[in-house]
Subunit: 600 residues, 2 copies
């Protein structure tokens, strides 16, 4: 039977020992986040995810969603009850603003809850997850009236939200959007068009669904500069807040997908549906990016979540399943075979997983703290630096994080041998669910281009220079301490490869931008490796400090030191070969014609 | 709509220009394989796979197999007809011995047909594929009577075969087998036990199914030294060759799997079923390894096949789908967007795929030629060297080949963006089907241990030393030619990393065998990279020669030169970082207790 245990111990170590959020107790939101309160929230959240969401994960995958002839969609057995329990417990309120009924806690507390939710049941987590993104866009760009009308009920979970970007002929390239929004003359618009791949587009969990839809007004420029954002509710909302007439939009079909079966992925048809513009005309892309940036971090967390639940099950299996003998001689001579756990190649997959999962968790929480600081840090300079860092690392958390999450899930499945391929065991679902994280909210190649094409170049490279300096500073400080010197030296070297790759782009990108594009994916991975190396150095130092002070769980802390060393030995060397690949440039990559690709 | 085109042009280039099999025309089997004959066979085989097998690939995945209450299994719509067409056309006869009705062609001709079959429909290909393995074991270890009774009908396809190894509690560790075979006193045995994961274990394609079953006789040692192999037919065979009574064996259930849905993966229950021993008592493992080695090469070919069909579809999609603009400026200004093909990161995935697929195809065919030469080469020395090389590279073709095959299929799916995640598009199936190739016939970790634990050490390291010398010889010869010098230098360097890793194992494996186990998977990948590099050097030289002589398809040959360069630039650098990981040894990898793995 698949199992899941929320990693509360690790989260608390990160929040308290590594990130030391108590230092920020003076800032808005953080004041409420006392250590006791944080521990209580995470423990309860973990319990909810383990006991309510995880038990319906596999059955939800098996059953999937059902669309009925009237266009309504039923979620799998137990989802409705679980969603009600989720709302009743107020899990949607954690990080929402207090003025709209939320608890106003920092994101660094909200992210772990999102991780647990996604690890326990990614398809379920997407229902409230998309609401969060939609709510964020309304909060930042909506009018006061829109905020008052929609946000409180979206925060409480009474209503959910969606993001409607993709159309059959356009995904990444939103300039091609054909959905039209024509003014009705009363301040509303008539929205007409077809959107596809709309996650949580129609379901039976909530009373209303607030669709955020990208569309073009009649005279809009025929490019991304002509896109506006609209609120298009499933049911119109009366002035008193009660539900009014059914809007003219419907779910035309749901997709048969590789995974996340329990989330309804809808084709949404808008047939002159009534909508209201959010923010300024033709500035929809900017509003959309508020949703997207939050969503991209959220997808990174999904990759982490699937990796963790898959890894946990692989660890259990490796202990329980006996097969063969240790290379060093029988470990359990009284048994007919030793557990899989004794085999180095099994251990390689588990250690790769552990180094990745805990490294990504640290990076996600560190990113969440930057999100918080970018809003509430005391000085403009601190806010700017935090914003710079999260902006630089969002594509890495999404792109590198989900590439690695899928890899960890695949390796965890591999530990099970043939049993991993049987759906009953649950491992296949983690791989199939993790697979989407590399694709949606901007495929990972798009993340890589966002990183090298936009983030590296903006502000004269300030963001990446900041990052270099932070890592160099960490390494310089750690190199004097024998316990971390090896990792620090290796990290400094990897940071050097990253600098060299950056320099190579600067020197070769002007002459031919394809030289940058050809190395984008590798660059995203070097940056991911260095970022995780930096997290492991921070974790190792925090673990050593706790050990020195006689605090905490000794085996847990010692495992951090071992895994940090492992990361240095087994992950950081890749930075060098990735840099060499980047330096090969784009010539051979771009030389062939389409016909030459097919050797048939 | 998914598409598949058999890569006949590439196969012919390999057979004629790269491997030059005409040189072997003096050897048994090769005499019949004239260039015209080979082209005709491959062209027809390709057509059959494109027109008969591929059209039922996706529908077979969707429908899957059905087990009925009486234990019978129905294959998906169209499979029975396709299998009949397969037999009628004589596709099972190609490489079978002439004395049993086969055509006696070399494996280097049979392997490409196996590739096409697996690319077009892996689940289908497994039915005849397992028959081939079972037939090979009977041919080598069976009595004359057993050969006469079973082989002709298994070769013709009237009957199919299976391999019964795994039991619920034992997969890799066959010493744990519990299935018993008790002598009936008439030369037959009563076989009792449960076998799981039996591919093609029960179906409606053939009149009889010849199960090859590993079991223990009553006094057998309780280890792998106590395993015997038995023929256990579904229907007993009368002396005149007609079918007699139904044997007491049955399919208890079929598995619900991640992929290969159209192949029935059965739990087989043997209830005192009548069986006959193949070869000597307690020597079943050796007989089984005849099946396994053939099967492992076959699985490598499956990985190649899934990679190729996935890549072909990604290439088409990248040409058809328009999204965004080239970084160097609009390529098709009259259109609203350029094809995906212009984007370097899309091209990276396609080029990685091309370099892998064509490199693996070369390695598989080169391996097939070694199989042939190991049997029929003129001198004992040549036969021995060919046998050495195929023995060394079988785990690489299986393990590295399927790791990379899955990666190529995943990347091809990625090219489709969100559409790749929708089952309708077909890309998900290639990934799901490819996934099993990393697991069955010895999970890839087992392949890696076979390589470093057995193949490297046997005969004083003669096999790997031969391999080093071959690659060094190639590099030395090529370094003088400007067109290949860069690739040759890079390959020589990668070969140097391989030598260094080998040396490190020798120096550190004695003290702690876990040091070898900890690097096994990485070593398998370095060897795979060097082997593919060597293939690309051979292909580049053959392509250049043909171009110089004004022969062949110029764009095809020029693409070989470009892709060879790409492989050198983008694949060979990994050898260095993999070596560094190996040299990290096993200390950190093996340090943690099971409890330390879970950070919850």
């Amino acid at each position: 039977m698949p199992a899941y245990r929320a990693p509360v111990q690790d989260t608390l170590f990160l929040i308290n020992d590594v990130l030391g959020i108590e230092r920020h107790a003076n800032l808005p939101g953080f004041a409420n986040a006392t250590p006791d309160m944080v521990e209580a929230v995470l423990t309860e959240a973990g319990k909810f995810c383990e006991e309510v969401l995880f038990p319906i994960n596999q059955s939800g995958d098996l059953e999937g969603c059902t669309r009925h002839d009237d266009g309504s969609v039923t979620t799998p057995k137990g989802f409705k009850e679980a969603y009600k329990a989720y709302c009743d417990a107020g899990w949607g309120l954690l990080t929402a603003p207090e003025e709209f009924g939320g608890q106003g806690l920092p994101h660094v507390i909200g992210f772990p809850v999102e991780e647990y939710r996604n690890a326990a049941n990614q398809a379920f987590a997407m229902y409230p997850g998309l609401s969060q993104g939609a709510t964020a866009a309304i909060l930042v760009k909506g009018s006061e009236e829109q905020k008052a009308t929609y946000v409180p009920k979206m925060v409480s979970g009474e209503w959910t939200g969606t993001m409607n970007l993709t159309e059959p002929h356009c995904g990444t390239d939103l300039g091609l959007i054909r959905t039209r929004a024509v003014p009705n003359g009363d301040g509303s618009y008539a929205v007409t068009g077809t959107k596809i791949f709309i996650s949580s587009g129609e379901h039976d969990l909530a009373d209303n669904i607030i669709h955020l839809v990208l569309a073009k007004t009649p005279d809009a420029p025929d490019s991304v500069k002509g896109i506006s954002l609209f609120i298009v509710p499933k049911f119109l909302v009366n002035e008193d807040g009660s539900l009014g007439e059914r809007n003219t939009l419907s779910c035309g079909s749901i997709e048969h997908k590789m995974g996340i079966h329990a989330n309804s992925t809808c084709v949404m048809n808008y047939d002159g549906a009534k909508g209201w513009m959010v923010g300024e005309e033709n500035k929809g892309l900017a509003a959309m990016f508020i949703m997207m940036n939050a969503a991209r971090l959220g997808v990174g967390i999904q990759g982490l979540g699937q990796a963790d639940v898959a890894l946990q099950n692989a660890v259990h299996y490796a202990q329980d399943r006996r097969q063969g003998r240790a290379l060093t001689g029988p470990q359990d001579p009284e048994e007919k075979a030793d557990p899989l756990f004794v085999h180095p190649d099994v251990r390689r997959m588990l250690m790769d997983g552990k180094a990745t999962v805990e490294g990504l968790r640290a990076l996600c929480l560190w990113g969440a703290l930057q999100v918080d600081l970018s809003h509430v840090a005391a000085s403009e300079e601190e806010r700017q630096q935090a914003d710079d860092l999260v902006s630089l690392l969002t594509p890495v958390i999404k792109g590198y994080g989900t590439d690695k999450g899928y890899e960890v899930a695949t390796n965890a499945q591999q530990v099970f041998g043939g049993h991993g391929y049987i759906e009953e065991q649950g491992m296949s679902q983690y791989v199939r669910d993790a697979r989407i994280t590399m694709i949606y909210e901007g495929a990972n190649g798009v993340q890589a281009m966002d990183l090298v094409g936009r983030k590296l170049a903006q502000n004269g490279g300030r963001e990446i220079q900041d990052f270099f300096a932070i890592v160099d500073g960490e390494c310089a400080a750690a190199k004097d301490k024998p316990a971390f010197a090896d990792l620090a030296v290796r990290l400094e070297k990897a940071n050097g490869e990253l600098k060299a790759a950056t320099m190579w782009f600067m020197q070769n990108g002007m002459a031919n931008p394809n030289n940058v594009g050809a190395g984008a994916h590798h660059y995203m991975h070097i940056l991911g490796i260095v970022a995780l190396g930096s997290m492991w150095l921070m974790m190792a130092e925090a673990a050593q400090k706790a050990l020195d002070e006689g605090r905490g769980n000794k085996p847990f802390l010692e495992a951090k030191l071992v895994t940090a060393r492992y990361f240095g030995e087994r992950f950081l060397p890749d930075a060098g070969s990735l840099r060499r690949k980047i330096e090969a440039g784009s010539e051979a990559m771009m030389a062939l014609t389409p016909d030459q690709f097919l050797a048939a």
